[in-house]
Symmetry: C2
Subunit: 438 residues, 2 copies
Amino acid sequence: MLEGYKGKLASFLTSKGIEIGDKIRIKKENIEIEGILFPSFSRDEDIIVVKMDNGYNVGIKASGADLFLLSKRKSEEDRKHQSKDSKGEVKIISTGGTIVSKVEYETGAVRPALSTDEILEYLPQIKDVADIDAEILFTILSENMKPEYWTKISEKVKESLDKGARGVVIAHGTDTMSYTASAIAFSFTELTGPVVLVGSQRSSDRPSSDSSINLYSSVILAKESPFGEVAVLMHGESSDTYTIAHRGVKVRKMHTSRRDAFQSINDVPLAKVMWTENEVRMMRKDFIPRGKENKMDSKFDSRVFLLYYYPGMDPSLLELVKDRIRGVIVAGTGLGHTSDEFETVFKEFVKDGIFVGMTSQCLFGRVNMNVYTTGRKLLGSGVIPLGDMLPETALVKLMWSLAHAEDVEGVKKLMLTNMVGEFNDRHSEHLFPRWYHE
Amino acid sequence: MLEGYKGKLASFLTSKGIEIGDKIRIKKENIEIEGILFPSFSRDEDIIVVKMDNGYNVGIKASGADLFLLSKRKSEEDRKHQSKDSKGEVKIISTGGTIVSKVEYETGAVRPALSTDEILEYLPQIKDVADIDAEILFTILSENMKPEYWTKISEKVKESLDKGARGVVIAHGTDTMSYTASAIAFSFTELTGPVVLVGSQRSSDRPSSDSSINLYSSVILAKESPFGEVAVLMHGESSDTYTIAHRGVKVRKMHTSRRDAFQSINDVPLAKVMWTENEVRMMRKDFIPRGKENKMDSKFDSRVFLLYYYPGMDPSLLELVKDRIRGVIVAGTGLGHTSDEFETVFKEFVKDGIFVGMTSQCLFGRVNMNVYTTGRKLLGSGVIPLGDMLPETALVKLMWSLAHAEDVEGVKKLMLTNMVGEFNDRHSEHLFPRWYHE
């Protein structure tokens, strides 16, 4: 198999008996590189792509290079056998997304394709860190994720931890990864080990991919870390020096394409993973420790709406959806406002048993509806301020709360209980990032 | 007038003939401070509040202090007279908001109250920088701002610049200040001077207020800077060292309470104002220069909707609002996605002449709908990708475009034209802030 290689280079590789997945050595001028032969997607037919032991993908011009086959890839049979024997210290559940994707030749677009097993093949050093038990649960792009899948993932998490896994890694598309992280977090009141959602911003067949470092780090984290919480692990900065584990209910995708797109909002991350040293450095002491058992209750009621307020918004638009929903999360302006025209609509909603919760579209900071007249009027209408909770986290929590309370008072009580750290009462200066003004 | 002062301290001030707005000197132990006596809202009846020349408010225990009256505040008559004579180099238009607010004694809440004239009285050094002509246009909290007010503000801006003002300052509540900035920006194809929206996060009667430094900086900026653009000016960082002027269409309120809440997203700010040195430092060379005349066309059609996508969102919710709108801005996930269930709804909307534009809820980065299958499907439905435009900016631009195009093709053309820098094609590493991971 020589996926992506063409013409002269393909013939040359075949003549050496080299296939994708084989360990090879490349010598060119004074450079010598060892690594796994990777599929090539370069337009340049002379480029050979190798994944090195340190996790980097390197593309090298093959002209003038010497190639040596060091060892053949394991056959499908060998791998299946090994998989069966594994102690399963870390369970990897694949749901789809870029981290398990490759580029479609025909269109140039990316679609989910590589199995977790295939990734393990390209990243054999993961097996030195932990015994792996991998499973494909779904193959969907995360923008198509739904509450019913959150429940299925939670069930698989419980099953895996109950069977003795030290931790669970969930390979997930990045688009809605923080929503899923919140959903799983609210689904467990106790966890025997970490549940680590991991994704990548560039697919694993691209030289700049972050998938192998992220996956490698997530396995270290799942196995070694002392917490029983749901975390999102991605690059901490744009280079490859470390990865960061964020508390699942306090993280947000803040950039469309950067590898360090995921950042904690209004809270300190859980841990830093120095992946080159196989080391987990906890960044806070107040994490939720590993529990004795896995207590799960994963139900969601998606009859909710996220209202993003803007000037000129007609309150009657909200009335149109009234019959279809049991709760609204408002992403209001500033400290938690809408125009005062919404006062009457919210009052009517609350009277009819629809929960109305307030968050801020600023994202950073916390709502405080006592400062301005508008906020006080909205409070008077029965709108519930939701502190420093992110709008997205509040929405997922509302879906969960609606499925677990008898009435709107019950929903309110659940919404205001700090279940898994979704409220942070202690904000400090460093929770707002530094901006470049030079 | 001794607003806020009670008991012994009030009697003491009266005995010295000192009133709010008078210039006084306080001597206590080895400290000597000169400034304007400011209303006190401290619970401690012994605290005297003084605004110093450098813009800081200071609260000092009055016990044991010596007070000297240096000069009386100008009378109402004097000020009115002076106002009339002024050359009006900088026009200040007050619309309301915290920058012109004070605390309600009864409730502790903040309501708009101080006139711009009153602020000028507390900040007499503004008059050393420029001749001021101040006017109260509205007295509303910005969460109640509406498109019809955007037009009124634009008309007042045109009138002021046409009459010869070097620049215009608009005092505005911070909640929706960036929406208004975008609206004014799209309303002018040419401006003879800067239009500077300025707000404050803490009201002017609080010792920690940012209102005087911001207002002072905005006047320097309006008078001195070389651009004919709409800018938002606020603190650049949490201390008082400098203020930053952001391009109105590229700025967002990113924190509910910090004084440096406003930050440029996906672009470099326009200028830094070193207010202690009365100096404007341009941060970019590609600003739009002052024009020869003021070309205004300020109409908005608010039959729009901002759809914030989340997992589990039922596409039929969008159909409920269909009859009420002429355009939708989607804040999609990642590179510009929704679940693929929305494909059909969007197709139907576009077929019926409703514009559908895609932005990203990540805020940073740009949409790219060619990378994943989902994006390509949505493109096929007629959804228009809107680059790195912020969802809020795109929404305001859509309201403007709907009022200026004949049909959906015309709207599309306007939406994709880079009018005032709402698209930035050149992203660099430093457009993403630095996050604390220690």
